[in-house]
């Protein structure tokens, strides 16, 4: 097949004449220029909404050019306008710039994503009518081409301005001036309705409220509950609670005996093995720790958040070979997965790690060798500090590791040997999590699937398919009933653990999702991307709660929630540990609420900004780059150590792990 541009030259140029000038690149450029000019001329109030059209029109115009084999025109068109979008869509711009031949469209995942789906944009009625009117009047000056693009590739949903407060004039004024132009959560590729139980492709008519989530805690089986209560009674009798301190039994009742709600999942859906003495001990210890924890709730006076304590474990002489770190639940062990295919486990207090099977001098660290590729995730099985030294051991028994060699391995921490290798994934495995009560675990892989496994089955129990790209991170809901996956297709999905169907799809990230964590109360999900954004989602409605900015670029490697679900800590490649208030409403969320104060504030902001006039764009850019949202409680910088892992203990102390990587002196 020959390129389209060469045709007029090959045949008689004159015969095509006027028509050829309106083909390919000229046509696209003309249409795009028309749109840009229109954006500049239109009323300020409409601008934020209409501006959203530029990016999809740009992408689809370009892809159409590529598809129709106007290779050179496509390149010229892309080069001309890419600067406009580089700030907001740096990765897409980069990826698309390599796509230049029709065969690439069928192989490149991003191009395919755009072409197979309609890009959804939500608009209020007035700007939409205005736009249609304008395009019709300019039918022969590029309007037709724009109408074609919009018809073929865009899905414009019109909403009534008064219907949703977030689109009210006040809200637009409030946000319009210094809003970072990140896409709204309901805008973008998969074209779903926010909070929709299924993607629109499956069932466009479905309604989020039709699927109710059971977010309550997982019910423990009755025998276990009775055993725990009996043990706690004994404990209370032995050590009477200090004055002002509730007894352990009361504490337990308060935790368990919440209003019997209908949102408690059934045990039959996610069965667990019968409980052992070890489980009783662990539950007892959890109650004790819960009572004696450092309380982070209710200390918010005058806005200063509660003081969080962070212990930092810094690894030295690593030569950047540590890929992942995990701390055991009893705070006794720390494991690191290495790029050199082995795992190393240390005892945190330097005591010896003994094994019954060998007589060698026990050391305070051990290597686990077995994988044949870099280790990308390690995880200790659930554990607690042992409440009763004479009782059953409650330390971590197993360690799971996921590797580039496509296998997951289960290691025994008693004999320090590999017990099982779970194979099933087709590509490197990126992440791994234990279920909240052990037994089950979840993996996410480069083969675009997440899989659920049980330790006693060699085959995966469920496969969660739907992501358009690698599943980079996975997490369990604390009640075992749901799992979450984050992907570099920039979406986060929520799946029913046993049903295997996708229940929620969260879009709004602009970078690859690098970490997700569900709050202990099961109501909120936090997800972080490598552009430095953390987004909180309300699971019930499936809507975005707020966006928290502050981290630098390069990935937020880990998130962790405090016991009370009020505080979130995050850490990442920018060598900081940050503490966030998950409750406080910030600018963004208040403007959504669009109450009177926000509108008043917006007016003030508008006048001052308006006076400064021209340099608004420059200032805006700076504001975005160094913007830290107001709900960041504190930030702790480390000394040249990227932080790989943060973890709240059950007593609200934060453990952080990172490697000291001094910059080369030369």
């Amino acid at each position: 097949m020959l390129r389209k541009e060469s045709e007029p030259a090959a045949t008689n140029g004159a015969s095509l004449g006027g028509q050829s000038s309106d083909q390919g690149g000229t046509k696209a450029t003309k249409a795009f220029e028309l749109l840009r000019k229109y954006m500049d001329d239109i009323l300020d109030v409409y601008k934020p909404e209409l501006r959203k059209l530029l990016w999809p029109v740009f992408v689809y115009s370009y892809l159409d050019l590529v598809r129709e084999y106007f290779t050179k025109d496509a390149e010229a068109f892309f080069a001309k306008y890419r600067n406009t979008f580089e700030r907001d869509h740096p990765q897409d711009v980069n990826t698309l710039s390599a796509v230049r031949l029709p065969p690439h469209l069928t192989t490149d995942s991003l191009a395919k994503l755009y072409l197979d789906n309609k890009y959804r944009v939500t608009m209020t009625l007035m700007p939409f009518y205005n736009l249609v009117q304008f395009l019709e009047s300019k039918m022969f000056e590029g309007g037709q081409a724009l109408i074609d693009v919009i018809r073929d590739h865009l899905n414009i949903v019109t909403v009534d301005r008064t219907a949703t407060t977030e689109r009210s004039i006040a809200a637009i004024l409030a946000s319009g001036q210094d809003e970072d132009e990140l896409p709204a959560e309901d805008e973008g590729i998969p074209g779903h309705n926010p909070g929709h139980p299924l993607t629109s492709r499956h069932d466009p008519e479905a309604d989020a409220s039709r699927i109710r989530l059971a977010l309550g805690p997982y019910p423990l089986d009755q025998d276990l509950q009775d055993d725990v209560r009996a043990t706690l009674q004994d404990e209370d009798a032995k050590n009477a609670p200090r004055p002002g301190q509730p007894s352990l039994v009361d504490e337990y009742e308060a935790r368990i005996k919440r209003e019997p709600t209908d949102d408690v999942p059934s045990r039959d859906l996610i069965p667990l093995p019968p409980s052992l003495a070890r489980d009783v001990s662990m539950e007892v210890q959890k109650v004790v720790e819960h009572r004696d924890r450092y309380r982070l709730e209710g200390t918010r006076t005058g806005g200063v958040g509660p003081g969080v304590s962070v212990t930092m474990y810094t690894f030295h002489n690593t030569y950047d070979s540590i890929n992942c770190i995990d701390f055991s639940g009893d705070n006794k062990l720390v494991a690191a997965g290495m790029a050199e295919s082995y795992i190393r486990v240390w005892s945190m207090d330097g005591s010896a790690l003994t094994s019954p099977s060998e007589n060698a001098q026990p050391a305070s660290s051990r290597r686990l060798v077995g994988h044949s590729g870099p280790i990308y995730a390690v995880a200790f099985s659930p554990a607690t500090v042992n409440p009763d030294p004479t009782g059953p051991s409650t330390s971590s028994q197993y360690l799971l590791s996921a590797s580039e060699d496509k296998s997951v391995r289960l290691w025994s921490l008693d004999v320090w040997q590999c017990l099982v290798a779970y194979r099933g994934h087709d590509n490197p495995i990126w992440d791994l999590q234990w279920g909240p009560y052990g037994h089950y675990f979840l993996t996410g892989s480069n083969d675009r699937t997440a899989r659920l496994w049980a330790t006693d089955h060699i085959e995966p129990l469920r496969i969660y398919v739907g992501h358009e790209n690698d599943v980079d991170c996975v997490a369990f809901h604390p009640n075992n009933l749901y799992v979450f996956t984050g992907s570099c297709d920039r979406t986060v999905r929520m799946w029913h653990t046993s049903g295997g169907n996708c229940l929620r799809l969260f879009t709004g990230h602009t970078g690859n999702v690098t970490s997700i964590a569900c709050s202990p109360d099961g109501r909120t999900l936090a997800s972080a991307d490598d552009m430095g954004n953390i987004i909180l989602w309300t699971l019930e409605t499936g809507r975005r709660k707020k966006r928290m900015r502050g981290h630098g670029k390069g990935g937020i490697w880990s998130l962790s929630w405090s016991v009370e679900s009020t505080i979130l800590v995050s850490c990442g490649a920018d060598q900081t540990v940050r503490v966030w208030d998950a409750i406080q409403e910030t600018n963004e969320s208040t403007s959504k609420a669009a109450d009177g104060t926000a509108a008043a504030k917006a007016d003030g902001a508008l006048t001052t900004k308006g006076a400064s006039g021209a340099p608004v764009t420059g200032a805006k850019k700076n504001a975005k780059e160094s913007g830290v949202t107001a709900d960041q409680i504190s930030v702790f910088q480390t000394k040249e150590s990227p932080v790989y892992k943060v973890q709240f203990t059950r007593m609200n102390l934060v453990l952080a792990g990172g490697a000291y990587l001094p910059r080369p002196t030369k």
Binding site: A98, H104, G303, D320, A573
Partner: protein
């Protein structure tokens, strides 16, 4: 002109190398574009590996893994554990050529060279990155530089947060980043001046009482600790100040409302200094040298006549403080005891240190480690120490000091003996007979004193302890 990043000439070269002599220009361009695309694909995949390796530099391994995932045979021979360094050469104006720097290695030299050093083992250290929301200023944490950039700004930002991080004033950077109420600041000022007031004993006592019982002191803990360590460093000559600081430390430890565990590592050094310092008290203290007594002139001896031994008392107080800390906080502070013991033992075994230091070290060892420590740490070293003692006892100017050290050694030995429980004093009527054996173990001077004071049980303990070790 082609717009592909990949040089089309390169495509032509490859075509020629596989036997295709001439390629049409548009084909070359097309292929170059395709190469671009494939490379972008590989890079995209490789970046995923970099991201999951939690790195910020792409390595050759990432490319190999990416090729593997894309079902392409990886390139062998480019494995490197650290990022490659690229050399740059110029082919002409604006035409840089990059190449991998690949040194030529002389095989002979390589074989004969000594083996390279074994890389250091991966280890980890733990420290407090934050204590109750405030980052402590310790060497493991970075110095607070441009913290302002990291915090929320703008009208919606919470002013308290900035204040809490010491940023309520953008022009002047306060030294401390901790919000402190007016009252607390006032209290701190009062406390510090009261502690240093030598003339008003009552006021000082009031301050000490406040430190011991006031829950509000919690806010000031870091400030007090810094204050103490500063004063100790700067007033080694002033016994009154040192004593006041030790008392303040003592009271702080006694305050039941303060959670001191994370601060202990910062409280130990000033106390240890008071305990082991070379020059403590007025300057007339003897020069710390192993110079023999002949070098001392009359003046010095006169000085010694006036010299009092108050600093011994101070060292004793310090030692008891260390004992307290070890008892209360060694569970939460890894290796606290061992660290203290190690510094003391080192001080004790250094004959160049003045006797005062030896005294402090012995006193601390005795208190911190107990009888076992004495048996393992002190007893085997007494023989060597005998030299020092003898020399000091012979020297008039140091005689008094040496006596005190000797007394402490005897107390140590007494402790050791007592810990063995009730002793049956059987058949040890004649200590004199054992003198030589004792001297063998603990040195002549000590042995003489044991005999002189008729410590039969002690002697037996020494001899038995020794047997058990042999």
């Amino acid at each position: 002109m082609s717009s592909s990043v990949w040089n089309p000439d390169n495509v032509r070269d490859v075509a020629e190398s596989v036997g295709i002599a001439s390629l049409a220009d548009n084909v070359v361009e097309e292929l170059a574009r395709d190469v671009d695309y494939r490379l972008a694909q590989v890079l995209e995949e490789a970046l995923k590996f970099m991201r999951h390796g939690k790195r910020t530099t792409l390595s050759t391994h990432d490319i190999s893994h990416a090729l593997k995932v894309l079902n392409v045979e990886p390139l062998y021979g480019y494995e490197s554990t650290r990022p490659l360094r690229f050399g740059e050469a110029s082919l002409g104006p604006g035409q840089p050529l990059y190449y991998v720097e690949d040194e030529e290695v002389d095989f002979e030299k390589l074989i004969n060279a000594p083996l390279p050093k074994v890389p250091r083992e991966i280890t980890f250290t733990a420290h407090w990155l934050a204590v109750e929301g405030v980052q402590p200023s310790i060497p493991q944490n970075p110095t607070a530089s441009n913290q302002a950039d990291l915090l929320p700004k703008g009208p919606n930002a919470n002013p308290h947060l900035a204040a809490a991080n010491g940023l309520d004033n953008y022009t002047v950077k306060p030294l401390v980043k901790h919000v402190l109420s007016k009252e607390s600041q006032e209290l701190f000022a009062k406390l510090s001046s009261a502690l240093l007031d030598e003339n008003n004993q009552e006021w000082q006592n009031a301050a000490l009482a406040s430190i011991q019982s006031d829950p509000g002191i919690h806010q000031l803990t870091t400030y007090l600790i810094t204050f103490i360590s500063e004063k100790v460093t700067h007033s080694m000559k002033n016994l009154t100040v040192l004593r006041a600081m030790l008392l303040a430390t003592d009271r702080l430890l006694a305050n039941p409302t303060i959670y001191l565990d994370p601060y202990i590592p910062y409280m130990v050094p000033p106390v240890l200094t008071c305990c082991l310092g070379k020059h403590i008290g007025p300057t007339s203290h003897q020069a710390p040298s192993n110079a023999s007594s002949e070098t001392l002139n009359g003046n010095n001896i006169n000085g010694h006549a006036r010299h009092n031994f108050e600093h011994f008392d101070l060292r004793k107080i310090a030692a008891s403080l260390l004992q307290q800390m070890c008892r209360k906080y060694s569970a939460s502070n890894q290796g606290l005891k061992t660290r203290i013991a190690r510094s003391c033992l080192k001080a004790f075994l250094d004959p160049n240190k003045p006797l005062g230091t030896h005294y402090g070290a012995l006193e601390t060892l005795r208190r911190v480690l107990g009888a076992d420590g004495v048996r393992i740490g002190i007893l085997p070293n007494l023989k060597i120490y005998d030299e020092v003692l003898k020399e000091a006892l012979a020297d008039d100017s140091r005689k008094e000091e040496a006596r005190r050290v000797l007394a402490t050694i005897l107390v140590c030995l007494d402790d050791m003996e007592r810990s063995r429980g009730a002793m049956r004093a059987n058949g040890v009527a004649n200590l004199e007979n054992q003198r030589d054996r004792l001297a063998e173990k603990v040195g002549g001077e000590v042995a003489d004193h044991i005999i002189k004071s008729n410590r039969t049980a002690v002697a037996q303990a020494i001899l038995e302890a020794d047997l058990s070790m042999a």
